[in-house]
Amino acid sequence: MIWEALKLSLLVVSFATVIICVVGLLFAYLLAKFDFRGKEFLDALLTMPLVLPPTVTGYYLIFLLGRRGLLGSFLYDLTGWSVVFTWQGAVIAAVVMALPLMIKASRASIESVNPDYEIASYTLGKSKLETFLRITLPLAKRGVLAGLILSFARALGEFGATLMIAGNIPGKTQTMPLAIYEAVASGDDRRAQVLALVLTAISLIAVYLTNRISRSQIYG
């Protein structure tokens, strides 16, 4: 049963991390390179999950995505399916909670790339997208990678919002943090210890890697 939780966590976090990478880079690029009305408001909105209690974010998620939610109702009427109580819901919770970390780190990293490099690329005939992929991103690699690893760790430890939107279903949505909570609350010390150890080990490695990468040489 310990392995079930571990497997589920890895499944959820893998999907979440891929989504966070793409969506996070998108928003980071948008915020770093464009100016538009309401930009700082968007930034503040995207930062909310970092600051609000996870149960509040969970509340918003279920309000939006539940069977009668603002968005969830359409999906349910159309397909009879809802993300609530599914591992997909757990992925969504993980993405929402960890995305701000990715966006913040990536945006700062992208902004720190000397714009002259990008302009040089344009004068050599390369489009904005190609420039982003071949010049900006490689030069922003450290911050982006650090952000991604941090998001991974955050997604792995996500609990409050997940509980609300995915429920605690062993084998289906019981990720490691949920399993640990249950083990502790039900007095199953051995299970709690093993799970906590695994989770801590992974998180430690993640944070260690993040720090190492952030400290490695700058290109300048």
Binding site: G66, R68, F85, I169, A185
Partner: protein, 262 residues
């Protein structure tokens, strides 16, 4: 410049407030007692807390959470004076570990398990056995491992022979309020909660069945003074207020039944 002058005064003011905050405004001998109570007791106990303060002048600090969590807190030495749990298991465990005053223990209330559905649910559900039907895809109950209500629910399912049919559809919540929330929203097709919780949810849900008394061990709410309490006298008074006629009336107002037996 102005900030530099204001800052030390601000700091002093903050310390003053902090110290004063520590002193209660109550006239009791201490800063109040701390009562850990199951989440399902919240509304009733808040009122009992007012009753207690009126009678003794001592304030009550409440700590509401799942009984399992509260039990763990006491086991790891949290400074609690009273424990009121929604089920005997947690209290029994603590008794075995010698963490409560056996003499002070009382069963102060009972409850019933009810089956609820969203208010506008079109499903026809009149008995627990109907849960096996396919129109009930998601059934929310308290986590049997950590929530007493969930344990009783499992007993009911076992007694009625529903366990295998119902198991794949179950969604566990860590407290009964969450079960209610899911049913209210319609994300769960049905849920099993205490009668007292269903009463609070009111209009948003419909109670469709009550589990018969013989389908589960009696739902008893025990209360006891924690052994390491530093305010035994004040804590004992709290138990007495809970057991008093006025205390019992408050409990029944919120849908609790009288405790069966002791």
């Amino acid at each position: 410049m102005r900030l530099a002058k204001v800052f030390p005064k601000l700091l002093l003011l903050l310390c003053f407030v902090a110290v004063c905050g520590g002193c209660g405004t109550d006239s009791g001998p201490t800063g109040g007692i701390t009562v850990s109570a199951a989440a399902s007791l919240k509304d009733a106990f808040n009122e009992i807390g007012v009753l207690y303060k009126t009678k003794t002048g001592t304030r009550v600090n409440f700590n509401f959470a799942a009984s399992g969590v509260l039990q763990r807190q006491i086991e790891t030495g949290a400074p609690i004076d009273i424990f009121a749990s929604a089920g005997e298991n947690q209290m029994n465990d603590l008794a075995t570990e010698g963490l409560i005053d056996e003499d002070s223990r009382r069963n102060f209330a009972g409850n019933e398990l009810v089956l609820v559905v969203p208010r506008d649910s079109k499903a026809s559900l009149t008995r627990f056995n109907d849960l096996t039907r396919s129109e009930f895809a998601k059934i929310a109950i308290g986590n049997p491992k950590t929530v007493p209500a969930g344990q009783y629910t499992e007993q009911v399912f076992d007694k009625l022979g529903l366990k295998d049919a119902v198991q794949p559809k179950l969604v566990f919540a860590e407290d009964v309020r969450q079960v209610l929330d899911w049913v209210e929203r319609g994300d769960a097709d049905a849920g099993v909660v205490y009668a007292t919780d269903a009463r609070i949810a009111g209009e948003k849900i419909r109670v469709v069945a009550t589990a018969s008394e013989d389908s589960h061990t009696p739902i008893l709410y025990p209360v006891a003074v924690v052994k390491n309490s530093r305010q035994k006298q004040a804590a004992q008074q709290f138990v007495e207020v809970v057991m008093s006629a006025e205390g019992q009336a408050i409990l029944q107002k919120y849908g609790f039944t009288a405790a069966a037996g002791k």
